[in-house]
Amino acid sequence: MIELSNITKHFDDKCALNRVSAFFEEGAVSVITGTSGSGKSTLIRIIGGIIRPDSGVVIVDDMPIYDNVATQKRLFVLPEKPYCPSYESADELAHFYMHMYDGFREDLLKELVDRYGMSMTGPMRRMHRDARDLLMLAMGISAGTKYLVCDDLFTSMDDELRASARRMISDARRNPGTTFVIAVSDRSILGDIADYTYELEAVR
């Protein structure tokens, strides 16, 4: 379970998050929605252990997340614009993740790549951005982590890719049983796969 307790975050003199609390159940797809500027990306980064909150704490399976390797191994984070070294192929990136995540499933990745018509060879910079994002989602699922925390990859995708993403998430919830925490600007983007929806309001 992921638990957020009174998360507050300021950037310079602007308040991005003010005492946000929530918990995300295991095995579920939890969706965080909110308008632009409501702090969704910030919250995803805090949950992912990238940013430290000014106050409050994120607990993952009874352990704090920030700078904690044991907890971070249970989490795979996909920011809104995930970085992939442009000169690397998907295959090389997968091997990199294999070194980082002990439970990385190469067979699952191959299966997802074949099923959704993606390519593992050739530099990733040559791929279309949306296709690259879908491939990164497949990488995240194949990492074998218990949780996958994902910022809004989907708003910019076309309908076909979005549908593929929804199917991928829905299948991954069953096998390998990944818990998803996903931020989107509009709940309807993910259709009916969300088990729980949380709405984030912008701090005035």
Binding site: F11, D12, T42, R45, G48, G49, I50, I51, R52, D67, N68, V69, Q72, K73, L75, F76, V77, P79, K81, P82, Y83, C84, P85, Y87, E88, H95, F96, H99, M100, Y101
Partner: protein
């Protein structure tokens, strides 16, 4: 360490290594093409060579460190690395090691390869090997410290250009303040010649100052080792301090700082003060002498304008908004307070400093630096334990040790008159720098202004310059014969009027003969010679293959000119 992080870094490692290799190979290739013997560089080229090594190493360090840590300025890349299951400490160690290994391993490999080929060729002796190792250690320490400072600069900033700007400020910050201090204390009576030489504390001064005696094969190993040990200690301190700073900066840097130009919001004021205060003081003191009649007004105005402009420029960078910069006056006011406190302290000290003249019973002896003779002050030699010449003695140190002038009345008369008349009102002002030795054991140095058209001044100057005490303090050759072990390869007579050289002979015997005649001639030498006559010829005694020499003046009324 997490070696697995390097799986992503293949390209980074390759580019860093190639960059370093290209710089080093092209520079070494140029050197080899220029010098037919590997260790035959003339001494006057050694210093520029060592400066180039420092510049090359510094550039490589900045380039490699910024390449490895520039990811901190990209939100996407920061998210990528900071989301991985690796602690910040391990991540820092991994990237730092990558940075370091590229250059250090290359340098070590080069040195070992050189030995591999040079030893069978018989080109290596213990002294040379020791010098190579010492200079490699200094260079590695210098490289690592520049790397640390660059990493720290990149952790403070959110943009590569701001990062490089902060890096430049940090690398040369001490040099900047040294320049400010030089100008601050540049009072009318400040004696730059006798000023206590500051110890080398800036990174570049320590490295360049030490590498020069370390690499030279004409210097004894003892001298090289002594220079090496002190410099290595100072560089180690620099390395540890800078490492702590860069590590702390990295670990405390928030990931969201990649969105800002400056990483730590709370550090804005400190960074501004650090830059605005010395730059404004520098500008103020630089303009001080531009308009003599209004110099203080000009100084104050230029300091205020500089403080405002630089502060606004920095605030515009921090906040990315000129409007915000125009509103934020708090930091400008704080900067101006610091600037004017500094200004007030130096102004209060200046009058007291300028009015100092020792009392007659306080003064034990003194030495002078006469600008009309200044050319000859630098030709005094250092000998190592084997009796070989290896360098020139610092001119001021030689004068302080060897020029002991007892005629207190002469100098105090000149000093008192200097107090009464501003040098701008003198017909022919000459700045005479004086090193007072007090009966208490303390020393003071001042510059006094002497009107050369004044007859009484002329008389006093003759009393100072005429006696042997003065000449012993300028020319080592006045008291000392050529050392027995010295290699005098040439004694020459340079007729300055005809611009013609005549070779008089070689060896210490010839040199001593000429010196005896010259010393007898120099009895005539006094202030009037310097003021009203020109040097007609010079005796040049060349040591150790012509690398070093004594240069002795000959005037028209001396036998060495008349009997040439």
């Amino acid at each position: 360490m997490n070696w697995k992080l390097f799986a992503d870094s293949k390209r980074r490692i390759l580019i860093s290594a190639l960059f370093a290799a290209v710089i080093i190979v092209s520079y070494c290739g140029r050197l080899l093409a220029r010098h037919t013997r590997v260790y035959g560089m003339p001494f006057y080229e050694v210093r520029p060579f060592t400066v180039m090594i420092a510049v090359t190493t510094g550039v490589i360090a900045v380039a490699i460190a910024s390449y490895w840590f520039a990811y901190l300025h990209s939100t996407k890349r920061t998210d990528f690395y900071h989301s991985l299951p690796v602690t910040a400490r391990v991540r820092f160690r991994t990237f730092y090691t990558g940075c370091m290994l590229v250059y250090v391993s290359g340098l070590v490999l080069s040195v070992l390869t050189s030995f591999m080929f040079a030893v069978p060729a018989g080109a290596v002796n213990m002294g040379l090997a020791a010098r190579i190792l010492m200079s490699s250690v200094l260079t590695i320490l210098f490289f690592l410290t520049v790397t640390n400072i660059t990493i720290y600069a990149f952790t403070l900033s959110g943009n590569i250009f701001i990062g490089l700007l902060i890096d430049a400020v940090l690398l040369f910050y001490i040099d900047l303040w040294e320049r400010v201090l030089d100008l601050t204390w540049d009072f009318a009576t400040y004696s730059s010649f006798f000023a206590v030489r500051r110890p080398d504390i800036s990174l570049t001064d320590i490295y360049i100052g030490a590498i020069y005696p370390t690499v030279r094969s004409d210097v004894s190993l003892g001298v090289s080792a002594s220079a090496f040990v002190w410099a290595a200690l100072k560089l180690l301190i620099w390395f540890f301090l800078s490492y702590r700073m860069c590590r702390s900066g990295y670990l405390n840097r928030p990931a969201e700082a990649s969105r800002s130009l400056i990483a730590f919001y709370s550090s804005h004021l400190l960074i501004k003060l650090m830059i605005v205060v010395p730059v404004a003081l520098l500008m103020g003191y630089s303009t001080y002498n531009s308009f003599y009649a209004y110099r203080e007004v000009v100084q104050i105005i230029s300091m205020i304008i500089t403080a405002i402009v630089v502060s606004m420029f920095l605030e515009t960078i921090f906040s990315r908004s000129l409007k915000t910069a125009l509103r934020k006056w708090g930091s400008i006011i704080v900067s101006l307070i610091v600037i004017f406190v500094t200004y007030g302290i130096t102004r209060a000290a200046e009058d007291r400093y300028n009015s100092y003249v020792p009392k007659y019973d306080e003064l034990e002896s003194y030495a002078v630096f006469n600008p009309l003779d200044s050319y000859y002050y630098g030709f005094n030699l250092k000998y190592d334990e084997d009796g070989h010449v290896y360098d020139y003695i610092d001119a001021a140190e030689f004068v302080k040790e060897h020029m002991i002038l007892p005629d207190e009345k002469a100098i105090l008369t000149l000093a008192a008159k200097s107090q009464r008349t501003d040098y701008h009102d003198m017909s022919s002002p000459m700045p005479l720098q004086v090193y007072y030795r007090l009966v208490t054991g303390r020393q003071r140095s001042r510059q006094i202004w002497v009107d050369m058209e004044d007859d009484e001044n002329r008389m006093m100057l003759n009393r100072i310059v005429g006696p042997a005490y003065y000449k012993s303090g300028v020319w080592q050759a006045f008291d000392r014969d050529v050392p027995d072990d010295a290699d005098v390869n040439s004694v020459d007579y340079h007729d300055l009027r005809a611009d013609k050289y005549t070779h008089l002979g070689q060896g210490s015997g010839t040199a001593d003969q000429i010196l005896d005649i010259w010393r007898d001639d120099m009895v005539l030498y006094d202030y009037d010679h310097i003021r009203y006559d020109e040097v007609a010829a010079e005796i040049e005694i060349h040591f150790d293959g012509g690398l070093y020499m004594w240069v002795l003046p000959v005037y028209e009324d001396m036998s060495l000119w008349k009997d040439r």
